[in-house]
């Protein structure tokens, strides 16, 4: 059974700074729960001798040349920010530290 409870969803939403209504919490609890359950099913059949797949197509070494391209303007960069000071994103103070 899934470990996704409405409280877990509210906690994750809080961390991600996404406002959810109670009906959204309810539907996401069910949806996330079924995703977790499905993944759990995959884990059951994935024995240690099965190598992990990180990509469905067997490609490798896709690189980019080290040449600068076009950057966003400050206005563009901040366009989607909930809050900013004109040049930097403004976020709620969080107790913690840089990784």
């Amino acid at each position: 059974m899934s470990e996704i409870t409405p409280d877990v969803v509210r906690h994750l939403a809080g961390l991600a700074r996404i406002a959810l209504t109670e009906s959204e919490v309810a539907s996401l609890t069910g949806e996330l729960g079924s995703i977790v359950d499905n993944i759990a099913k995959v884990s059951e059949v994935a024995t240690p001798d099965v190598e992990g797949t990180s990509h469905p197509i067997p490609l490798q070494n896709v690189f980019r040349a080290d040449i600068p391209g076009v950057t966003l303007t400050t206005e563009q960069a901040l366009a989607g920010a909930p809050d900013h000071d004109g040049s930097r994103f403004r976020v709620t103070a969080i107790l913690g530290e840089e990784q």
Partner: protein, 498 residues
Amino acid sequence: MDFDKALELFEPVLGFEVHVELGTATKMFSDAPNPAAFGAVAAEPNTQITPVDLGLPGSLPVVNEQAVRYSISLGLALGCSIAESSRFARKNYFYPDLAKNYQISQFDEPIAYDGSVEVELSDGRSFTIEIERAHMEEDAGKLTHVGGATGRIQGAEYSLVDYNRAGVPLVEIVTKMITGAEKDAPELAKAYVSAIRDIVVALGISEARMERGNLRCDANISLSPRGSGTLGTRTETKNVNSLRSVERAIRYEIQRQAAILAAGGTIIQETRHWHEDTGVTSAGRPKSDADDYRYFPEPDLLPVVPGAALIEELRAALPEAPSLRRRRLKEAWGFTDLEFQDVLNSNLLVEVEQTVAEGASPAQARKWWTGEIARVANEREVEPGSLVSPEHVSELIALIESGDLTDRLARQVLEGVIAGEGAPHHVVDARGLKVVSDDGALIAAIDEALAAQPDVLEKIRDGKVQAAGAVIGAVMKAMRGQADAARVRELVLERAQQ
């Protein structure tokens, strides 16, 4: 607790994580200009970003080939094996220094693993530090905490985020557990970071300026009670941003832990922040080995499979190993063991080498870097290399050797250069510091001084040459120190006989 006492009771066990910002033109996964690129100047906040750096929906990272080449070169220079196949992983965490809610790093398949670095201590003994792995990842953005009394995280009202640094290519070098360093632990730590810096500089893959955060060291320290055979709880000290503070932070943390353990207390596994100004560490976030970052393979990126041809190409292009280079330079410069050790211990090999490359004599380059410049740097608690460029030091030395400056005047010129008044010749002009080499002006001052001290004149004429000192002093004073004392002496003796 006293350091020696701490060592009597406990054996220090160390481990280091050194982050190196690569000096590529663009970032690790986006084509935004890299603020850590060679020669980059500071840009306005959030002007060096693309949708990839902001983790905007629909954006896809693509690996910078040059960053991969640099990482492999670094791995090889650290004596590591290069992974046949290496892949990226997401390290998930909620913190606004990265907009994606995860950092792209490497987890179970790092690009390089199992290496070692020879580190030399100041007394010439060498110590081998085993490298566990070196992996590629991206740097995080820069947070400024606003409000609260101290401008630190605690008490802050909000934080401002600049994502220019987000996505800067990093290589994180992780050592294996280091035992047996004993009382040399603080010095070994400094020597290790210095050795990494030397390697990175020799490879030309990063500016490796610690004061700019190009090279950062996190130091893991624990104490094992003597004879117990058990490991102690470790702390991880961050924010150690100079070679000098690496040494100080380790020493402090050993003493701090020893005092707690000796008093029957326990060490909390946590990150600690080093404070350069006060010389102490303070508690940060509690940290456990169970920290769950939910690593999983990065689905947006493909495996990196370097291939033997590329690895051998990069191996063949490796520069001379710093330890061999030291031997070669010592010989080329004709320094005694003591003189050379003096340069190494002050971590000024690169500066002296670059100054010599600019045309200065090795002896003069050593004298100025380990002397006056190191003295000023020590006074201001900064690295000598951050005060003045090798080019300017070489110019200063040329002015001394051409007789335009005395050592005393050169120190004043240096002061001006350090104060940002420009190149030495600008400072000479602006401050009017040139040696008075006009014999006419000197002779006039000498004649005046001799006339004022007839008794001295008599003594000199009687062959008591040392009496000339009083006249030389008076002349130097009249010239406000801007004369070559040796030339004044010659002229005084000449004039006294007329």
